[in-house]
């Protein structure tokens, strides 16, 4: 019986295909018309049946289309990918319907009914999002309370730092051997000086801007950048310490790493704000931002160490043996043989650590630094702009998403590249 049916389907597939496509299009059409234009084709049916009708029709259509091999390229592609069996067809329909249903309200909220003109709350009259809010507050979200006419200093500093970062790629081949030296030691120092003197000022005729005024997304970048360049050497020392064969050094490194990995960052930040002042000499004042950067560096150094240890471990033992057989000592072996190879391997791992770091920096909001989350909280409670929390958070989420997604893709690609190179 079933066999004859299948045979029939094979010989008359053309008709089955037409019927299936017809049913499937009807079901999609029904959902699209209803969700986009509020036209209800099934108004004459009882409610509950009208709800499930497109699902049933579409399911029947997909069932008719399904065949092992039809000879038509598109149909085969569909059958292979979204229509392999009844369960898959059902899920396919559910996903398509969910997308179609969710698209109109979110699109109209975000784009069609949204407002971006004007520069006050009154400009927002529609039912959609009020992007005017984001537009008006844009500079605050980006630069915090930094004086408006000095924003060029932040921009210049970032451009310089990024430019210096790419500088290594243009070095002459004869200088390439100093590349690691440049990135690990010289670059952090130059970057630190650039950011310190350009953004905070106080020298070369630039006006002093105290760190309390820094904020917004630029503060996220500053904090994560400094933490990265400081936690890298720390992590390297700890990773070497953890793999050392001197027991005391190993225990101290393991203890350090496991301690910081075991506590949440928020308690570390609390520690930086209430415990650090206690631990320092009484007349020694340390800026809040500096304290936070030190705390995050100590914290992130432990994670960095684990990433670097992964790279060290993945080097074959032969490298160590070969270096030792040439009569190299511990430091010579590590500086000239082990680390140059291992550091290349740990770039993806470091990238992931950095990603986690960027995602963690909004937390500095809890100790009172007006990072982008802090600026959002400030903007949302501003009496002139009440009720636009949604827009602000979506804006911040989009920015972070783009940064983090790009970074995760980059590290993923690197990982694949090194996997094949080895």
């Amino acid at each position: 019986m079933i066999n004859t049916l299948i045979d029939k389907k094979n010989s008359n597939y053309y008709y089955y295909l037409l019927a299936g496509i017809f049913l499937f299009s009807i079901s999609i059409l029904d959902v699209v018309l209803y969700s986009f234009f509020k036209i209800n084709l099934t108004i004459f049916l009882p409610d509950i049946l009208g709800l499930f009708l497109p699902l049933i029709i579409g399911f029947a259509g997909l069932h008719l289309i399904r065949i092992e091999y039809s000879g038509i390229k598109t149909i085969d592609l569909i059958n292979k990918n979204i229509n392999t069996n009844n369960f898959n067809a059902f899920l396919t329909l559910l996903i398509i319907f969910a997308i179609v249903k969710a698209a109109p309200p979110s699109l109209s909220w975000m784009i069609f009914d949204a407002n971006i003109s004007g520069d006050s709350k009154e400009a927002c009259t529609g039912t959609g999002a009020c992007w005017t809010y984001v537009k008006v507050w844009f500079r605050r979200f980006m630069y915090g309370m930094y004086p408006n006419d000095l924003h060029w200093r932040i921009n210049t500093a970032f451009i310089l730092v990024i430019g210096l970062g790419f500088f290594g790629f243009f070095l002459k081949d004869s200088l390439k051997k100093y590349l690691a030296l440049y990135y690990v030691i010289i670059y952090p120092i130059i970057a630190f000086l650039v950011i310190y003197y350009l953004i905070s000022g106080g020298a070369f005729g630039l006006v002093w801007v105290e760190t309390g005024a820094w904020g917004g997304l630029s503060l996220t970048f500053i904090v994560s950048f400094f933490c990265l360049i400081f936690c890298f050497p720390l992590g390297m020392i700890l990773a070497l310490g953890r793999r050392s064969n001197l027991p005391m050094i190993r225990y101290i490194s393991v203890g350090y790493i496991e301690f910081w990995r075991g506590v949440p960052l928020i308690t570390v930040l609390f520690m930086s704000s209430v415990m650090f002042p206690m631990f320092l000499p009484e007349d020694f004042f340390m800026d809040k931002l500096v304290r936070v950067i030190i705390a995050i560096t100590l914290f992130e150094g432990a994670y960095c160490a684990e990433a670097i240890r992964g790279g060290l471990q993945s080097l074959p033992r032969g490298q160590y043996d070969a270096a030792k057989s040439l009569g190299m000592g511990y430091w010579k072996m590590h500086i000239f043989v082990i680390l140059p190879q291992a550091l290349k391997l740990v770039i993806p791992g470091i990238c992931n650590t950095f990603l986690a770091l960027v995602k963690d920096t909004p937390l500095i909001f809890v100790v009172g630094l007006a990072e982008i989350a802090g600026m959002l909280a400030l903007a949302k409670t501003n009496p002139k702009w009440l009720g636009f929390a949604m827009e602000g958070y979506i804006f911040a989420a989009i920015i972070f998403w783009i940064i983090c997604y790009a970074m995760s893709k980059y590290s993923y690609n690197l990982e694949n590249k090194y996997k094949t190179e080895r």
């Binding site: 996903i95 308690t267 209430v274 995602k359 958070y393």
Partner: protein, 383 residues
């Protein structure tokens, strides 16, 4: 001799450096505390706390001690972690399996779900749910019931509470089920190994799990009542629900954000685990004559779980640590109650922050130790 010196000198120097650093900090702390008139000690834990906590699992009021406040915070942290772990595991497994689906749409929606929720900072997600999404919920008097008896309002989620009679008898019956399942399964294993016979263990356990508690209801005098939340007028315009359990919006926002965020990582662990089992294993099992259920249960799952469980536990640990972000939306967890309010009142910065950190550290170390033990147990024993 030369070698010995080479080995000892760096170690001694490092040790001296660490001890010196710690000594420097202790000395400074001593001086600073003397100057500010604070004395070091944990006596404050017994003092009356005189602050209130909005949401607590155990009885607590301002007249209780700081130690009790610590316990309230710790329990709240564990509560939110526990609920989130359950949700994120369910979600994570579904998404992880979906990522390997043969269906193009399912595979890609799962992939986009992971990319979407993984790449937005958790704090922003918590803020989004708490300040934006949950604020759009209706007021108590306008809320339509969900499933007839629960109410989702801007003031929280109100669900019926259970009122048990003779709860201990019910508990004993559950205990009896667990013990008998343990004995039956060990018997079944013995039977399988000695004579090759198999008994339907799963159905026997399921039957026991239904029958014994049912008996406790019928004979043991156990009964269960529901207390359904009822709308109550507080003042002219303000309403609230009374009776039942009210879950505060902070808890809901936190659970939502934590489980959505962590589920992406768990999904990746699950996917890696299933992909990590080589195809040959499945084919070999099939060629030995195992049914597809047996292949999944006896061949694929044990190997996949070996890969899945360690990183997943790590994610649970991360979730527990991340639950400390609760402090940002004023959910009374350990950090907010103890490292926030209690610290403000007593000024015992060093003691309180170290207790908080040590608490998290001991949770982490305990789970890590458990994990090591488990890894030792399941590792492939090569001959």
């Amino acid at each position: 001799m030369n070698n010995k010196i080479k080995r000892y000198i760096p170690q001694i120097l490092t040790l001296l450096f660490v001890i010196g650093l710690l000594g420097f900090f202790t000395f400074n702390a001593q001086v600073n505390m003397d100057n500010r008139g604070i004395d070091f000690g944990f006596g404050f834990l017994n003092q009356e706390s005189s602050f209130d906590v909005q949401f607590s699992l155990i009885e607590y009021s301002g007249s209780h001690s700081y130690a009790r406040a610590y316990l309230v915070g710790l329990l709240n942290t564990l509560l939110v972690s526990f609920i989130s772990i359950i949700f994120c595991t369910i979600l994570g497994v579904i998404i992880g399996v979906s990522r390997l689906s043969s269906n193009f749409l399912i595979r890609n929606s799962a992939a986009w779900y992971v990319e979407f929720f993984r790449n937005i900072p958790l704090l922003l997600q918590i803020f989004f749910w708490y300040y934006a999404a949950l604020r759009a919920l209706p007021l108590p008097e306008k809320a339509a019931p969900w499933f007839g008896v629960t109410y989702m309002t801007i003031k929280g989620y109100y669900i019926p509470s259970f009122i048990w009679n003779n709860f201990d008898i019910f508990l004993y019956s559950i205990l009896a089920v667990i013990i008998s399942i343990f004995f039956i399964s060990s018997y079944a294993k013995k039977l399988r190994e000695t004579s090759g016979k198999q008994i339907p263990l799963f159905f026997i356990s399921l039957g026991l799990l239904i029958v014994l508690p049912a008996i406790s209801f019928l004979i043991g005098g156990v009964s269960l009542d529901f207390e359904i939340p009822v709308l109550k007028k507080l003042s002219l315009t303000s309403y609230t629900y009374e009776g039942g359990i009210g879950l505060p919006p902070e808890l809901i926002a936190l659970v939502l954000a934590l489980s959505l965020y962590t589920s992406t990582f768990i999904a990746e662990c699950v996917r890696a685990g299933i992909q990590g089992v080589s195809k040959g294993q499945k084919e070999a099992a099939a060629s030995v004559g195992l049914t597809s259920n047996q292949i999944l249960k006896l061949v694929i799952m044990p190997q996949a779980l070996r890969i899945i469980i360690p990183p997943t536990t790590n994610q649970y640990l991360n979730l527990t640590k991340n639950s400390s972000l609760a402090a940002a939306i004023a959910y009374p967890d350990l950090v907010l109650v103890f490292a926030g309010t209690a610290l403000m009142q007593t000024g015992k910065a060093i003691e309180i922050v170290s207790i908080t950190m040590l608490t998290y550290l001991s949770i982490s170390l305990a789970i890590a130790a458990l994990m090591n033990w488990y890894n030792k147990k399941i590792e492939i024993k090569e001959k």
